[in-house]
Symmetry: C2
Subunit: 242 residues, 2 copies
DNA sequence: GGGTCCTATAATGTATACCTTTTTATCGCG
DNA sequence: CGCGATAAAAAGGTATACATTATAGGACCC
């Protein structure tokens, strides 16, 4: 039973103890396969905690959609939510919707602030590229750098309301993003389109056009979903169609 | 200690026991004033439950934004979230964003389905008007009927992802909606604009234009926020500016 | 031999006990 | 009289015990 420190590669806040963080990590990284039925006692044993914190973590992850009701159940039984391309599309699209709508606000910023944000985003994207260009990028680092780019946009432009929604959407997004990068490589697909789209976001932020910013962000997420779908298809074909 | 049945006027699902429903009701209806500091033992006593389910309900309501961290606190203390016009605007706007984006899907429906939905919405709006036209509308019923109109749109058009987000936004929205109607009356403002906007939604759904549908829904929520803000201003002036 | 009922096991929901930490109030000192 | 330190009270985090219920397996009856 390998207990890794939870927060290292998980850029999420961890309000309650670390039962949530640990369980989140197990699901996001796929250590608990989709469809796996979970029981409070078993998980408590595995995490070395009592049922109480584990139960709270399970309830939260259920609200966030990473755990779903299982069985024909009258009495609640939960399982790890299945992975689904259509759901991934919806998650990516909705992320783009919220992130894009919030980022429209830059159009009312003074030029200097916009430039500062644009520069910060350019640097964040550069750090992402630095990781992505490696022969065998560390998935955790790749994830973290990409997350940091978009998180910067959210932090600076989103209202508390949409920030909260994006936060609750985060775990589901993270789960798909987690193997997005590695899967691209496995499928032999390039990162270049992502670079270009990030660059378009930077340019739009600098220009200050609300429509352009929103369009660029939405396009980035929509296209990312399609890239993910394509990568899954190709990877499945390459490996032999599980 | 008056214990009212929880689900009667609260069109929300109530997964866990009724601690959540009870506490939700207390906050939404204002029985617990904004800013009120809550402790688990006190609430457990008040609700006639033990700390465990109360604690879970408090954690969920905190995720949903109805409870917020209080005090300069190192150790978590929570209080009922303050009411804030700007937050209300963000809640309404984001609701419109998600509901509107989902409803674009009707443009790809067969005509017959669109007509069916349009008719259902027209009837739902009619039931809302029936309540709103009364001299002293029952706030709970007014709330329920208005909620039903929009919920119908969400149920028929939203993806599971945006549905989940709207669901988690629901409590905050409900809190503002709860006194929106009564406040309009208090301020001597008419319901007519709402009728018109609902009608515009119905027409757009029937027509099948994605842009029109989205525009109509967004406008409805944006305008509703402005009406709420105006009603608050007027009511405050009329009563004497608390 | 198959189906149904019953029993036993196990999991969820709730309650309570324990421990740590924080906060507050009181007492003492400057 | 005020400020600080210490002690007591209280609240959050966790663990565990208890009650209820569902499910699975086996035995008995048809």
């Amino acid at each position: 039973m390998t207990k890794q420190p939870a927060g290292a590669s998980m850029p999420f806040s961890v309000p309650e103890g670390d039962a949530y963080a640990q369980l989140l990590q197990l699901v996001v990284r796929g250590d608990l396969a989709p469809g796996t039925k979970l029981t409070e006692p078993a998980l408590a044993l595995r995490l070395g905690l009592s049922r109480t914190p584990v139960r709270e973590a399970m309830q939260r992850l259920q609200l966030e959609g990473l755990l779903v009701p299982a069985g024909g159940g009258e009495r609640p039984r939960v399982a790890v939510a299945p992975l689904d391309i259509d759901e991934a599309r919806a998650v990516y699209q909705t992320t783009g919707l919220l992130e894009g709508a919030g980022a429209r606000a830059v159009s009312e910023w003074p030029v200097l602030l916009r430039r500062t944000l644009a520069t910060a985003l350019r640097l964040a994207d550069q750090e992402f590229r630095d990781v992505a260009r490696a022969k065998a990028p560390d998935p955790a680092l790749l994830f973290a750098r990409h997350h940091a780019f978009h998180q910067r946009i959210v932090d600076e432009t989103a209202t508390s309301v949409s920030r909260a929604l994006l936060h609750s959407l985060g775990p589901r997004l993270a789960r798909y993003e987690w193997f997005h990068g590695p899967l691209l490589q496995l499928a032999g697909l390039p990162f270049a389109p992502t670079y270009d789209e990030h660059q378009a976001i930077v340019v739009a932020v600098r220009s200050g056009s609300a429509d352009d910013v929103e369009r660029a962000i939405r396009a980035n997420w929509t296209n990312a979903a399609e890239r993910l779908a394509e990568a899954i298809t190709r990877a499945r074909a390459a490996i032999g169609g599980g």
